[in-house]
């Protein structure tokens, strides 16, 4: 437990300065105020970007409506998927094949594209078998960059509309978030990762004879550059089947720690940005402390159950040992548990098999996937957090008998409809998905435990698909046309449904004047508000999902007693 304590301490110690720096950077560079004073760096970057905007035909001064902003993002995402569809379909005829040449079937391509462009990165394919090196190391990063940039833009436009009454231009935001955030930072991360031992080469494989005279073939590629965007963009797709557990994707304990930092920097920075734009740092500190409180609680619970070990195995070996099933030795019990607890909130890249964890880990993960507001996925998570703040402010307003308002803006009918849509899209898709799947493909074994575990797997699959997370209980054999098509549709609807509600919600706030706080305003930057916010966020998730979480992982725990 001492290790956990120090790990959390180091994590916060490094993360906070980094994210405050990045948050400040975002708040100045994505500020659309024409009267702002531009720094030297910004002027240089502006001159670099000017030709890019010109080539793309983007008028950088143009202010879009919410509708146009959403449609621009949506169509550019669809268009990029269409381009990548062609590349993936004809991957056998293209150069840089590597060791495999597999003709992908159309449902699988739909699933791959849908999961990548929606930033979900659920993996039904096995990268080593199904994808050529070109598709794996060029097409996948491309989609990850673009989906991550779309997520960033959605978060930024929502916060900008809420605090500055401006919407901005979708293409400008996407290009800026690529040139100013994603590419430079990923470049630095790649170099650090290579230093720690990740390969980064165009060679595709090397064969040799091992010490014990077995022939071994090692697959290689530009792994480090892939990893950088996978983690910093919070995508979580793997270039090897084992994801971040593969020694090339996660060579040491230190690299594991860095990956943890990578996935949590942007969501933390976004909340700092919100503080800068509201000119109220207390607000962002209060939100951050609540989110970190939940995150650290989850770290502790997961790690405690893993350290206790598996009673069945401990019985076999007649001693107390931690639960090593599905964990790599170099990452250790604590390193694996902390990453596993963080990934269901943040990214979806796994460094251990969550299926072999104590079921409490799955239960927590399902809670996080349903809630989505504890940091959450790139850009979207912050909007979900603010959405819960909006809800809390609304309920408090109603209870006190005042006009409900958030950050000085009135909450009216239109906003509540959109924000309820945001809350209800996920349960709608998840629960209907589970019902249809269990009806069509019930578990065929008579064993009760296997039945319940199958239910947990199905639930997890849909929850991670709709939450743009993409982790999964991989024991489910999910590379079938049914799973591929159904999840492709679910992920697509969840992502763009949420994106539309977020942007329209922002757009509807953008036209409202900011009322300066008076003495009767219920302030949102107090500890009191923070506690109510936490309760609201937990309660609303529990209200929707608790029966279903009880049926799955919690029953597994009680059954085995």
């Amino acid at each position: 437990m001492l290790e956990l304590l120090f790990l959390i301490f180091c994590f916060l110690l490094v993360l906070l300065p980094l994210s405050i720096f990045l948050g400040k950077f975002i708040s100045t560079h994505f500020n659309n105020d024409p009267n702002k004073i531009r720094s030297k760096l910004e002027k240089i970057l502006d001159t670099i970007e000017k030709p890019i905007f010109k080539v793309c035909g983007v008028n950088s001064g143009e202010e879009m409506t919410a509708r146009k902003y959403f449609l621009s993002l949506f169509w550019s995402n669809v268009l990029l998927s269409a381009i990548c569809f062609i590349i993936l379909y004809f991957q056998n005829d293209l150069p840089y094949k590597g060791v495999v040449a597999w003709q992908l079937d159309v449902p699988l391509i739909f699933h791959i594209l849908s999961s990548l462009i929606t930033n979900t990165c659920q993996t039904h394919h096995i990268p080593e078998i199904h994808l050529t090196s070109l598709s794996n190391y060029f097409v996948m990063p491309l989609l990850m960059f673009y989906s991550s940039a779309s997520g960033l833009s959605t978060g930024i436009v929502f916060m900008r509309a809420l605090t500055q009454n401006k919407i901005g231009n979708a293409y400008v935001d996407v290009i800026k978030s690529m040139t100013r955030i994603l590419f430079p930072i990923c470049f630095v991360i790649t170099i650090i990762f290579v230093l720690l031992g990740m390969p980064n080469t165009l060679t595709t494989s090397i064969s040799y004879e091992t010490l014990d005279n077995v022939k071994q073939t090692i697959l290689l590629g530009p792994v480090a550059s892939f990893e950088a965007i996978k983690l910093f963009g919070e995508n979580g797709l793997s270039c090897f089947n084992a994801n971040s557990a593969h020694p090339f994707e996660n060579p040491s304990y230190l690299s594991n720690f860095l990956q943890l930092l990578c996935i949590s920097t942007v969501p933390t920075a976004f909340i700092v940005t919100l503080g800068y734009w509201l000119k109220n740092h207390k607000q962002s500190m209060i939100i951050l402390s609540i989110l970190f409180f939940v995150l650290i609680f989850e770290f502790t619970v997961t790690a405690a159950f893993e350290l206790k070990g598996n009673p069945i195995i401990n019985n076999l070996i007649k001693q107390n040992s931690a639960n090593w099933t599905g964990k790599d030795t170099r990452l250790g019990i604590i390193g694996s548990s902390v990453f596993e607890a963080a990934k269901s909130n943040l990214s979806g890249s796994a460094n251990a098999s969550i299926e072999s964890f104590h079921p409490i880990a799955s239960a927590l993960a399902l809670f996080n996937l349903s809630n989505q507001s504890i940091f959450g996925v790139q850009g979207f998570g912050t909007v979900f957090t603010i959405n819960f703040i909006l809800y809390t402010a609304f309920f408090i307003g109603l209870m006190l008998g005042k006009t409900p308002e958030i950050f000085g803006k009135r909450i009216e009918k239109n906003e509540i409809i959109l924000s309820s849509m945001l809350l209800l899209i996920n349960p709608f898709l998840v629960l209907i998905g589970i019902a249809v799947t269990l009806y069509l493909y019930p578990c065929n074994t008579g064993d009760l435990y296997e039945n319940i575990h199958y239910y947990t797997q199905v639930f997890f699959e849909f929850a991670s698909g709709t939450a743009s997370n993409g982790s999964g209980l991989e024991g489910l054999r999910d590379n079938t046309p049914y799973w591929n098509l159904s999840l492709a549709i679910v992920m697509f609807l969840a992502r763009y449904g949420a994106m539309a509600s977020m942007i329209f919600l922002g757009g509807s706030f953008a036209h409202k004047p900011i009322v300066p706080p008076s003495i009767t305003t219920f302030r949102t930057d107090t500890i009191m508000f923070a506690i109510i916010f936490l309760m609201m966020s937990i309660m609303s998730t529990i209200l929707v999902y608790f029966p279903f979480i009880i049926l799955g992982p919690l029953t597994e725990i009680f059954m085995s007693r």
Binding site: E128, A242, I313
Partner: protein, 176 residues
């Protein structure tokens, strides 16, 4: 039309990104960027990060792996925590060792199926077998393990681990 151009620009950016990082890392850190291979007598015998399967009695063994340390598919069996399969698999792996008092690390699958390390205790437990098949004194082997063991990072982080391949290479170098 703008959307198409933005897509094309991002394709160009991504290609530039991948090629430039590969170029820089291959120039600055040639060994790491190409997979950190370990060579003896100018022949590649393994990578520093990828585990190998050892079956003969004269070597230290790694952890069980679903695909026997083949790189074609990495990953593990994903046994659920309370499942019968996990118990059966563990019992099966336990058969290899003579005593039941063994480190859980040695008889359970790793996450990647390519885990290059075992715990320090796991290495100690294998001393008897290797001493018998090689005819080396147990104290000698213990010294060897201690030499190869990596302690906790800063005394707290991670486990005390041994790299199986490096340990076996140094085992081969011991003069009998």
């Amino acid at each position: 039309m703008t959307a198409l151009r933005v897509c094309l620009i991002s394709i160009i950016f991504t290609c530039l990104y991948v090629f430039s990082t590969v170029l820089i890392s291959c120039i600055i850190m040639h060994n790491q960027a190409n997979g950190s291979f370990i060579k003896t007598n100018n022949k590649i015998i393994g990578s520093k990060f990828i585990g190998q399967e050892f079956t003969s009695n004269k070597y230290f063994h790694g952890r069980p792996s679903l695909n026997h340390y083949k790189n074609d598919i990495s990953g593990n069996s994903n046994f659920p925590f309370y499942s019968k399969e996990l118990t059966e698999n563990t019992l099966n792996n336990l058969k290899k060792y003579r005593s039941n008092a063994i480190d859980a690390n040695l008889i359970t699958e790793s996450a990647s199926g390519l885990d290059p390390h075992i715990t320090y205790n796991g290495a100690i437990l294998q001393i008897d077998r290797i001493a018998q098949s090689r005819g080396i004194a147990k104290e000698e082997l213990l010294k060897l393990i201690n030499k190869n063991a990596k302690p906790h990072i800063f005394g707290i982080f991670g486990e005390k681990i041994v790299h199986v391949l490096e340990l076996n290479i140094s085992l081969d170098n011991v003069k009998m």
